[in-house]
Protein backbone atom coordinates (compact mmCIF):
# COMPACT_ATOMS: atom_id res chain seq x y z
CA UNK A 1 0.00 0.00 0.00
CA UNK A 2 2.74 2.41 1.05
CA UNK A 3 4.78 1.66 -2.07
CA UNK A 4 1.71 2.23 -4.25
CA UNK A 5 1.03 5.58 -2.61
CA UNK A 6 4.64 6.62 -3.21
CA UNK A 7 4.41 5.59 -6.88
CA UNK A 8 1.27 7.68 -7.55
CA UNK A 9 2.92 11.15 -7.36
CA UNK A 10 5.81 9.91 -9.49
CA UNK A 11 3.36 8.70 -12.15
CA UNK A 12 1.50 12.02 -12.02
CA UNK A 13 4.74 13.96 -12.47
CA UNK A 14 5.84 11.73 -15.36
CA UNK A 15 2.39 12.02 -17.00
CA UNK A 16 2.33 15.81 -16.85
CA UNK A 17 6.05 16.03 -17.73
CA UNK A 18 5.37 14.17 -20.98
CA UNK A 19 2.24 16.32 -21.33
CA UNK A 20 4.30 19.54 -21.28
CA UNK A 21 6.59 18.23 -24.04
CA UNK A 22 3.57 17.09 -26.06
CA UNK A 23 1.91 20.47 -25.45
CA UNK A 24 4.84 22.22 -27.17
CA UNK A 25 4.54 19.86 -30.16
CA UNK A 26 0.75 20.29 -30.20
CA UNK A 27 1.14 24.07 -30.32
CA UNK A 28 3.70 23.90 -33.12
CA UNK A 29 2.20 21.17 -35.35
CA UNK A 30 -0.09 18.64 -33.69
CA UNK A 31 -3.29 20.72 -33.41
CA UNK A 32 -3.34 21.43 -37.16
CA UNK A 33 -2.87 17.70 -37.89
CA UNK A 34 -6.15 16.70 -36.24
CA UNK A 35 -8.20 19.77 -37.21
CA UNK A 36 -7.56 21.74 -40.39
CA UNK A 37 -9.57 24.73 -39.05
CA UNK A 38 -6.66 25.44 -36.69
CA UNK A 39 -4.53 26.58 -39.66
CA UNK A 40 -7.12 29.29 -40.35
CA UNK A 41 -7.24 30.41 -36.72
CA UNK A 42 -4.93 32.76 -34.85
CA UNK A 43 -1.87 31.39 -33.00
CA UNK A 44 -3.46 32.49 -29.72
CA UNK A 45 -6.08 29.76 -30.21
CA UNK A 46 -3.35 27.10 -30.37
CA UNK A 47 -1.77 28.61 -27.25
CA UNK A 48 -5.16 28.42 -25.55
CA UNK A 49 -5.33 24.70 -26.35
CA UNK A 50 -1.96 23.81 -24.81
CA UNK A 51 -3.24 23.15 -21.23
CA UNK A 52 -5.83 20.71 -22.62
CA UNK A 53 -3.12 19.01 -24.68
CA UNK A 54 -0.96 18.65 -21.55
CA UNK A 55 -3.85 16.98 -19.72
CA UNK A 56 -5.15 14.76 -22.52
CA UNK A 57 -1.97 13.98 -24.44
CA UNK A 58 -2.51 10.18 -24.76
CA UNK A 59 -5.88 10.65 -26.51
CA UNK A 60 -4.46 13.32 -28.81
CA UNK A 61 -1.34 11.30 -29.59
CA UNK A 62 -3.53 8.36 -30.69
CA UNK A 63 -5.63 10.73 -32.82
CA UNK A 64 -2.55 12.22 -34.50
CA UNK A 65 -1.06 8.78 -35.16
CA UNK A 66 -4.36 7.59 -36.67
CA UNK A 67 -4.55 10.72 -38.86
CA UNK A 68 -0.96 10.24 -40.04
CA UNK A 69 -1.65 6.59 -41.02
CA UNK A 70 -4.84 7.32 -42.97
Amino acid sequence: METLIKIIPVLILIYFGIGVLFGIYFFAKGAAKIDSLISESKWTVRLFLVPGAIGLWPILLIKILKTSKS
Binding site: M1, E2, I5, K6, I8, P9, V10, I12, L13, A31, I34, D35, L37, I38, E40, S41, K42, T44, V45, F48, L49, P51, G52, I54, G55, L56, I59, K63
Partner: protein, 343 residues
Protein backbone atom coordinates in the same frame (compact mmCIF):
# COMPACT_ATOMS: atom_id res chain seq x y z
CA UNK B 1 -20.39 25.91 -34.76
CA UNK B 2 -17.76 28.34 -36.04
CA UNK B 3 -16.03 28.21 -39.42
CA UNK B 4 -12.74 28.90 -37.69
CA UNK B 5 -11.80 29.04 -34.04
CA UNK B 6 -11.64 32.13 -31.86
CA UNK B 7 -9.77 32.24 -28.55
CA UNK B 8 -12.95 33.38 -26.84
CA UNK B 9 -16.26 33.87 -28.65
CA UNK B 10 -17.12 37.24 -27.17
CA UNK B 11 -20.43 38.94 -27.64
CA UNK B 12 -22.15 41.78 -25.80
CA UNK B 13 -24.05 39.48 -23.43
CA UNK B 14 -20.96 37.47 -22.54
CA UNK B 15 -19.05 40.64 -21.74
CA UNK B 16 -21.83 41.83 -19.43
CA UNK B 17 -22.04 38.39 -17.83
CA UNK B 18 -18.25 38.22 -17.31
CA UNK B 19 -18.28 41.70 -15.80
CA UNK B 20 -20.82 40.52 -13.24
CA UNK B 21 -18.74 37.41 -12.50
CA UNK B 22 -15.72 39.67 -11.89
CA UNK B 23 -17.68 42.05 -9.67
CA UNK B 24 -19.20 39.12 -7.72
CA UNK B 25 -15.78 37.55 -7.15
CA UNK B 26 -14.28 40.86 -6.04
CA UNK B 27 -17.13 41.60 -3.62
CA UNK B 28 -16.89 38.08 -2.16
CA UNK B 29 -13.12 38.32 -1.64
CA UNK B 30 -13.35 41.79 -0.07
CA UNK B 31 -16.16 40.66 2.28
CA UNK B 32 -14.40 37.40 3.24
CA UNK B 33 -11.06 39.08 3.90
CA UNK B 34 -12.71 42.00 5.73
CA UNK B 35 -14.75 39.75 8.03
CA UNK B 36 -11.81 37.39 8.70
CA UNK B 37 -9.44 40.25 9.54
CA UNK B 38 -12.06 41.87 11.78
CA UNK B 39 -12.87 38.66 13.67
CA UNK B 40 -9.43 37.03 13.67
CA UNK B 41 -6.68 39.64 13.17
CA UNK B 42 -3.91 37.07 13.78
CA UNK B 43 -4.68 35.27 10.49
CA UNK B 44 -1.62 35.25 8.23
CA UNK B 45 -1.86 36.58 4.68
CA UNK B 46 -1.17 33.10 3.22
CA UNK B 47 -3.97 31.52 5.28
CA UNK B 48 -6.27 34.37 4.29
CA UNK B 49 -5.59 33.79 0.59
CA UNK B 50 -5.96 30.00 0.91
CA UNK B 51 -9.29 30.27 2.72
CA UNK B 52 -10.71 33.14 0.67
CA UNK B 53 -10.05 31.42 -2.65
CA UNK B 54 -10.98 27.97 -1.34
CA UNK B 55 -14.41 29.12 -0.17
CA UNK B 56 -14.82 31.18 -3.34
CA UNK B 57 -14.15 28.09 -5.48
CA UNK B 58 -16.70 26.07 -3.50
CA UNK B 59 -19.32 28.82 -3.78
CA UNK B 60 -18.75 29.07 -7.56
CA UNK B 61 -18.87 25.27 -7.90
CA UNK B 62 -22.28 25.24 -6.22
CA UNK B 63 -23.54 27.93 -8.61
CA UNK B 64 -22.16 26.00 -11.60
CA UNK B 65 -23.87 22.82 -10.43
CA UNK B 66 -27.29 24.37 -9.84
CA UNK B 67 -27.46 26.25 -13.16
CA UNK B 68 -28.10 23.03 -15.16
CA UNK B 69 -31.17 21.81 -13.24
CA UNK B 70 -32.48 25.37 -12.74
CA UNK B 71 -32.42 25.92 -16.52
CA UNK B 72 -34.29 22.65 -17.00
CA UNK B 73 -36.95 23.78 -14.54
CA UNK B 74 -37.29 27.44 -15.55
CA UNK B 75 -36.33 28.93 -18.91
CA UNK B 76 -35.45 32.25 -17.23
CA UNK B 77 -32.19 30.60 -16.15
CA UNK B 78 -31.18 29.67 -19.72
CA UNK B 79 -28.95 32.76 -20.19
CA UNK B 80 -26.90 31.55 -17.21
CA UNK B 81 -26.55 28.12 -18.82
CA UNK B 82 -25.52 29.76 -22.08
CA UNK B 83 -22.70 31.57 -20.26
CA UNK B 84 -21.77 28.87 -17.71
CA UNK B 85 -18.42 28.06 -19.32
CA UNK B 86 -16.70 31.24 -18.08
CA UNK B 87 -18.06 30.70 -14.58
CA UNK B 88 -16.59 27.19 -14.59
CA UNK B 89 -13.17 28.46 -15.68
CA UNK B 90 -13.34 31.19 -12.99
CA UNK B 91 -14.10 28.49 -10.43
CA UNK B 92 -11.05 26.50 -11.55
CA UNK B 93 -8.81 29.57 -11.33
CA UNK B 94 -10.03 30.23 -7.76
CA UNK B 95 -9.39 26.57 -6.87
CA UNK B 96 -5.94 26.82 -8.48
CA UNK B 97 -5.00 29.83 -6.33
CA UNK B 98 -6.24 27.93 -3.25
CA UNK B 99 -4.39 24.73 -4.18
CA UNK B 100 -1.26 26.50 -5.41
CA UNK B 101 -0.87 28.59 -2.26
CA UNK B 102 -1.59 25.55 -0.07
CA UNK B 103 1.06 23.42 -1.79
CA UNK B 104 3.52 26.32 -1.68
CA UNK B 105 2.93 27.04 2.00
CA UNK B 106 2.79 23.47 3.30
CA UNK B 107 4.82 21.32 0.91
CA UNK B 108 7.33 23.32 -1.09
CA UNK B 109 9.76 24.49 1.57
CA UNK B 110 11.59 21.17 2.01
CA UNK B 111 13.96 19.36 -0.33
CA UNK B 112 11.27 16.98 -1.63
CA UNK B 113 9.16 17.61 -4.73
CA UNK B 114 5.99 19.40 -3.49
CA UNK B 115 3.60 16.99 -5.26
CA UNK B 116 5.50 14.02 -3.84
CA UNK B 117 5.45 15.64 -0.39
CA UNK B 118 1.72 16.34 -0.69
CA UNK B 119 0.88 12.69 -1.28
CA UNK B 120 3.44 11.06 1.00
CA UNK B 121 4.02 13.42 3.95
CA UNK B 122 0.99 12.04 5.78
CA UNK B 123 0.53 8.31 5.23
CA UNK B 124 -2.52 7.90 7.49
CA UNK B 125 -4.71 6.81 4.59
CA UNK B 126 -6.42 4.22 6.77
CA UNK B 127 -7.48 6.77 9.39
CA UNK B 128 -10.61 8.88 9.05
CA UNK B 129 -9.59 11.42 11.67
CA UNK B 130 -6.05 11.89 10.30
CA UNK B 131 -6.69 11.22 6.61
CA UNK B 132 -4.50 13.40 4.31
CA UNK B 133 -7.46 15.45 3.09
CA UNK B 134 -5.21 17.66 0.96
CA UNK B 135 -4.75 14.77 -1.48
CA UNK B 136 -8.53 14.72 -2.15
CA UNK B 137 -8.44 18.41 -2.98
CA UNK B 138 -5.43 17.85 -5.25
CA UNK B 139 -7.21 15.16 -7.28
CA UNK B 140 -10.31 17.36 -7.49
CA UNK B 141 -8.06 20.14 -8.79
CA UNK B 142 -6.68 17.83 -11.51
CA UNK B 143 -10.26 17.06 -12.65
CA UNK B 144 -11.17 20.75 -12.63
CA UNK B 145 -8.00 21.47 -14.63
CA UNK B 146 -8.96 18.90 -17.28
CA UNK B 147 -12.43 20.41 -17.49
CA UNK B 148 -11.32 24.05 -17.62
CA UNK B 149 -8.57 23.34 -20.15
CA UNK B 150 -11.03 21.61 -22.49
CA UNK B 151 -13.67 24.35 -22.25
CA UNK B 152 -13.27 25.32 -25.88
CA UNK B 153 -15.23 24.26 -28.94
CA UNK B 154 -12.06 22.74 -30.43
CA UNK B 155 -12.20 20.06 -27.72
CA UNK B 156 -15.91 19.51 -28.09
CA UNK B 157 -15.47 18.84 -31.81
CA UNK B 158 -12.25 16.81 -31.67
CA UNK B 159 -12.92 14.73 -28.57
CA UNK B 160 -16.51 14.14 -29.86
CA UNK B 161 -19.49 15.54 -27.93
CA UNK B 162 -20.00 12.20 -26.14
CA UNK B 163 -16.41 11.96 -24.81
CA UNK B 164 -16.39 15.66 -23.97
CA UNK B 165 -19.63 15.32 -22.04
CA UNK B 166 -18.32 12.28 -20.14
CA UNK B 167 -15.17 14.20 -19.23
CA UNK B 168 -17.20 17.14 -17.98
CA UNK B 169 -19.56 14.91 -16.00
CA UNK B 170 -16.50 14.23 -13.81
CA UNK B 171 -17.44 17.51 -12.11
CA UNK B 172 -19.71 15.45 -9.86
CA UNK B 173 -16.78 13.24 -8.82
CA UNK B 174 -14.71 16.39 -8.21
CA UNK B 175 -17.58 17.78 -6.11
CA UNK B 176 -17.62 14.58 -4.00
CA UNK B 177 -13.84 14.82 -3.51
CA UNK B 178 -14.14 18.49 -2.52
CA UNK B 179 -16.92 17.74 -0.02
CA UNK B 180 -14.70 15.08 1.62
CA UNK B 181 -11.68 17.40 1.41
CA UNK B 182 -13.55 20.14 3.28
CA UNK B 183 -15.23 17.85 5.83
CA UNK B 184 -12.06 15.96 6.77
CA UNK B 185 -10.03 19.18 6.76
CA UNK B 186 -12.57 20.98 8.91
CA UNK B 187 -12.68 18.17 11.44
CA UNK B 188 -8.89 17.97 11.66
CA UNK B 189 -8.25 21.69 11.96
CA UNK B 190 -10.75 24.18 13.36
CA UNK B 191 -14.21 22.58 13.25
CA UNK B 192 -16.60 25.30 12.09
CA UNK B 193 -20.21 24.23 12.40
CA UNK B 194 -21.30 27.23 10.32
CA UNK B 195 -19.16 26.23 7.32
CA UNK B 196 -20.12 22.55 7.64
CA UNK B 197 -23.78 23.58 7.87
CA UNK B 198 -23.48 25.74 4.73
CA UNK B 199 -21.85 22.83 2.88
CA UNK B 200 -24.63 20.42 3.91
CA UNK B 201 -27.24 23.01 2.88
CA UNK B 202 -25.49 23.41 -0.48
CA UNK B 203 -25.45 19.65 -1.01
CA UNK B 204 -29.17 19.41 -0.21
CA UNK B 205 -29.96 22.21 -2.67
CA UNK B 206 -27.87 20.62 -5.46
CA UNK B 207 -29.25 17.12 -4.87
CA UNK B 208 -32.88 18.35 -4.64
CA UNK B 209 -32.70 20.42 -7.83
CA UNK B 210 -31.16 17.52 -9.75
CA UNK B 211 -33.87 15.16 -8.50
CA UNK B 212 -36.67 17.58 -9.40
CA UNK B 213 -35.17 18.17 -12.87
CA UNK B 214 -34.82 14.38 -13.37
CA UNK B 215 -38.48 13.97 -12.38
CA UNK B 216 -39.42 16.54 -15.02
CA UNK B 217 -37.40 14.60 -17.61
CA UNK B 218 -39.25 11.40 -16.81
CA UNK B 219 -42.53 13.26 -17.45
CA UNK B 220 -41.27 14.23 -20.93
CA UNK B 221 -40.27 10.62 -21.55
CA UNK B 222 -43.78 9.58 -20.59
CA UNK B 223 -45.20 11.67 -23.48
CA UNK B 224 -45.22 8.89 -26.02
CA UNK B 225 -47.02 8.76 -29.34
CA UNK B 226 -49.90 6.36 -29.96
CA UNK B 227 -49.97 3.74 -32.71
CA UNK B 228 -52.42 4.02 -35.55
CA UNK B 229 -53.25 1.53 -38.29
CA UNK B 230 -51.02 2.50 -41.21
CA UNK B 231 -47.67 3.05 -39.47
CA UNK B 232 -48.34 6.68 -38.57
CA UNK B 233 -48.44 7.51 -34.87
CA UNK B 234 -50.69 10.10 -33.27
CA UNK B 235 -48.68 12.94 -31.70
CA UNK B 236 -51.08 15.62 -30.44
CA UNK B 237 -53.68 18.16 -31.46
CA UNK B 238 -52.18 20.97 -33.54
CA UNK B 239 -53.39 23.54 -30.98
CA UNK B 240 -51.31 21.85 -28.28
CA UNK B 241 -48.14 23.23 -29.90
CA UNK B 242 -47.42 26.92 -29.19
CA UNK B 243 -46.42 29.18 -32.10
CA UNK B 244 -42.65 29.23 -32.81
CA UNK B 245 -42.21 26.52 -30.19
CA UNK B 246 -42.32 22.74 -30.05
CA UNK B 247 -43.77 19.82 -28.20
CA UNK B 248 -41.45 16.96 -27.34
CA UNK B 249 -42.51 13.33 -27.76
CA UNK B 250 -40.93 9.94 -27.46
CA UNK B 251 -41.01 8.19 -30.81
CA UNK B 252 -39.35 4.76 -31.01
CA UNK B 253 -37.48 5.54 -27.75
CA UNK B 254 -36.05 8.75 -29.27
CA UNK B 255 -37.05 12.28 -28.29
CA UNK B 256 -38.55 14.17 -31.21
CA UNK B 257 -39.52 17.86 -31.30
CA UNK B 258 -42.52 18.91 -33.41
CA UNK B 259 -42.25 22.63 -34.20
CA UNK B 260 -45.06 24.99 -35.22
CA UNK B 261 -44.02 28.09 -37.20
CA UNK B 262 -45.45 30.26 -39.98
CA UNK B 263 -48.67 28.18 -40.01
CA UNK B 264 -46.76 24.96 -40.68
CA UNK B 265 -45.24 22.01 -38.82
CA UNK B 266 -41.86 20.23 -38.97
CA UNK B 267 -40.35 17.49 -36.81
CA UNK B 268 -36.66 17.00 -36.00
CA UNK B 269 -34.62 15.07 -33.44
CA UNK B 270 -34.72 16.76 -30.05
CA UNK B 271 -30.97 16.29 -29.46
CA UNK B 272 -28.64 19.13 -30.41
CA UNK B 273 -25.35 18.04 -32.02
CA UNK B 274 -23.36 20.45 -29.87
CA UNK B 275 -23.87 19.20 -26.33
CA UNK B 276 -27.07 17.22 -26.55
CA UNK B 277 -29.23 20.21 -25.62
CA UNK B 278 -33.05 19.87 -25.86
CA UNK B 279 -33.92 21.53 -29.19
CA UNK B 280 -37.64 21.18 -28.45
CA UNK B 281 -37.25 23.50 -25.47
CA UNK B 282 -35.82 26.18 -27.72
CA UNK B 283 -37.75 28.38 -30.11
CA UNK B 284 -37.73 29.47 -33.73
CA UNK B 285 -35.43 32.48 -34.11
CA UNK B 286 -34.87 33.99 -37.59
CA UNK B 287 -36.52 30.94 -39.12
CA UNK B 288 -34.21 28.49 -37.32
CA UNK B 289 -34.75 26.11 -34.43
CA UNK B 290 -32.43 27.56 -31.79
CA UNK B 291 -30.99 25.35 -29.06
CA UNK B 292 -31.77 26.87 -25.66
CA UNK B 293 -28.39 25.83 -24.24
CA UNK B 294 -25.82 27.47 -26.50
CA UNK B 295 -27.75 28.91 -29.44
CA UNK B 296 -26.86 26.30 -32.10
CA UNK B 297 -29.34 26.62 -34.96
CA UNK B 298 -31.04 24.21 -37.38
CA UNK B 299 -33.49 24.75 -40.23
CA UNK B 300 -36.73 23.04 -39.19
CA UNK B 301 -37.52 21.58 -42.63
CA UNK B 302 -34.19 19.76 -43.12
CA UNK B 303 -32.47 19.64 -39.71
CA UNK B 304 -29.35 21.32 -41.15
CA UNK B 305 -27.47 24.21 -39.59
CA UNK B 306 -27.65 27.22 -41.93
CA UNK B 307 -24.55 27.55 -44.16
CA UNK B 308 -21.60 27.74 -43.66
CA UNK B 309 -22.21 25.55 -40.59
CA UNK B 310 -22.39 21.80 -41.04
CA UNK B 311 -24.30 20.25 -38.10
CA UNK B 312 -27.27 18.05 -39.02
CA UNK B 313 -29.98 16.27 -37.07
CA UNK B 314 -32.53 13.65 -38.13
CA UNK B 315 -35.87 14.77 -39.54
CA UNK B 316 -39.30 13.09 -39.47
CA UNK B 317 -42.32 13.02 -41.77
CA UNK B 318 -45.57 14.46 -40.43
CA UNK B 319 -49.16 14.56 -41.60
CA UNK B 320 -52.23 16.34 -40.29
CA UNK B 321 -55.85 15.16 -40.28
CA UNK B 322 -58.73 17.00 -38.62
CA UNK B 323 -56.25 19.14 -36.64
CA UNK B 324 -54.57 15.96 -35.34
CA UNK B 325 -50.83 15.60 -35.95
CA UNK B 326 -49.34 12.22 -36.94
CA UNK B 327 -45.68 11.20 -37.35
CA UNK B 328 -43.86 8.39 -39.15
CA UNK B 329 -41.71 6.92 -36.38
CA UNK B 330 -38.67 6.04 -38.51
CA UNK B 331 -36.14 8.91 -38.52
CA UNK B 332 -34.88 10.08 -41.88
CA UNK B 333 -31.09 10.41 -42.36
CA UNK B 334 -29.66 13.54 -40.71
CA UNK B 335 -30.23 16.63 -42.82
CA UNK B 336 -32.95 15.10 -45.04
CA UNK B 337 -35.33 17.73 -46.42
CA UNK B 338 -39.02 17.21 -45.55
CA UNK B 339 -41.64 19.60 -46.87
CA UNK B 340 -43.33 21.25 -43.87
CA UNK B 341 -47.03 20.42 -43.57
CA UNK B 342 -49.45 23.31 -43.70
CA UNK B 343 -51.87 23.65 -40.80
Amino acid sequence: MGVNYQTVLWNKNKKVYDKWIGIGILVYLICFIGITVATNPATSIETLIIRAFGTLAIALLHIVLVIGPLARLNTNFLPLLYNRRHLGVSMFLAALVHGGFSIFQFHSLGNVNPIYALVTSNMDYDSLTHFPFQVLGFFALIILFLMASTSHDFWLKNLSPKTWKRLHMLVYFAYALIIMHVFLGAFQQQPSFASIGILIFGFIIIASLHLIAAFKETRIDATVTQDTEDGWEYVCDVNDIPEDRAKIFIVEKERVAVFKYNNQLSAISNVCKHQGGPLGEGKIVDGCVTCPWHGYQYLPHNGQSPPPFTEKVATYELRIQNKKVYILPTPLPEGTEVTPILI
